[in-house]
């Protein structure tokens, strides 16, 4: 089995010249159960970095204390907030798309033997089954592509929002198994 690609990525990682996408590939690679010995020694590092991002030592007690300090006791109903469009949420996660891309890259590089070692436990990543090679990109630049994407999403969003009398399909809110 040829780990040249990963080894090259790793070298560039130490030199801090990897892209976020390449770093995701590395993290995904190092989250496998079985690794070759010469690479296994780096596994704790990548695993640590992922788990370190998920520590949440401050809980509800902290919230209560802070809210009291600013004069908003926790049991008081929250005031109506003017919400700006961009709400900040903290989600430390691999973007599903990158993880899927990483999976494809790893399998392509390491061959089919790697597939059994590489478990995608996240069901949603297995569902998409389209052949992306069957059509060609229209846009040269991501900015143009984003404009088109925005326009498309806006149309669909408008439709989802509009009240429809014909919207009487059963189980509308449920995603059928």
């Amino acid at each position: 089995m040829d780990y040249k690609y990963i080894e090259q990525l790793l070298e560039r990682y130490w030199e801090a010249t990897t892209t976020p996408q390449e770093e995701t590939i590395l993290r995904t690679f190092f989250s496998q159960d079985v690794l070759p010995e010469h690479l296994a020694q780096y596994q704790p590092l990548f695993v640590y970095e992922q788990t370190a991002a998920t520590e949440q030592p401050l809980g509800d007690d902290f919230d209560r204390r802070m809210l009291e300090r600013i004069g908003q006791p926790a049991d008081e109903a929250p005031k109506k907030v003017v919400v700006k469009a961009q709400r900040l949420t903290i989600a430390s996660r691999l973007r599903p798309l990158f993880r899927a891309a990483a999976a494809v890259a790893i399998v392509a590089v390491l061959g089919t033997a790697a597939q059994s070692a590489f478990r995608q436990t996240d069901q949603t990543n297995e569902a998409w089954d389209y052949n992306s090679a069957s059509y060609a990109d229209t846009y040269q630049h991501p900015e143009e592509a984003l404009d088109a994407l925005d326009a498309g999403l806006a149309e669909i969003s408008d439709m989802l929002n509009s009240s429809t009398s014909a919207d009487s399909l059963a189980n509308n809110e449920d995603v059928q198994p």
Binding site: R95, Y130, S132, D137, T138, Y139, L146, I156, N161
Partner: protein, 157 residues
């Protein structure tokens, strides 16, 4: 083999039987109904370009945009240059989806638009949006790994 496929096509059998590999609705519609003049055209964003979109500053710094776009794999927007054909395409497209109801489940519709989902188990892998307005006809195929939560978010952008 081609003979059999053509026969199946005429009988209007499920699209999945025709496709060697999975293909989204817009692509299928193009294949079936584009004429020699090429009056149908499709704008495409493939998975790799979708990733590049995610890396743009304005998307990286916008959690909402990230939440939505990160679940998408591709988008295809199909339109036609022929204004006399809007109504026909609209009916034809809906018909194609309805004939393949095992694959495309109707989600919502009104006088001028319809949305279908293609699902695998609990995941929505494609949203098909068919629409006829006064000055346009379009089919949008949005593919990805989407959930019901995603639909709610999409409705509120």
């Amino acid at each position: 083999m081609r003979q059999i496929l053509l026969t199946l096509l005429l009988v209007g059998l499920p699209l999945a039987a025709l496709a060697q590999q999975e293909c989204d609705f817009a692509s299928q519609y193009m294949r079936l109904y584009n004429d020699e003049a090429g009056s149908l055209s499709c704008n495409t964003v493939r998975p790799l370009m979708m990733q590049r979109i995610l890396q743009l500053d304005e998307v990286e710094n916008n959690q909402e945009a990230q939440d939505i776009i990160s679940q998408l794999k591709s988008i295809q927007i199909l339109t036609t240059k022929d204004p006399t054909a809007y109504a026909q395409h609209f009916e034809q497209a809906k018909d194609l989806a309805d004939r393949n109801s095992k694959r495309y489940r109707p989600y919502r519709s009104n006088n001028h638009s319809a949305i279908y989902f293609r699902q695998k188990k609990k995941v929505i892998v494609e949203i098909v949006y068919i629409s006829q307005q006064r000055h346009s006809f379009s089919i949008i195929s949005l593919t990805g790994n989407m959930t019901q939560d995603f639909i709610k978010k999409l409705a509120h952008i």
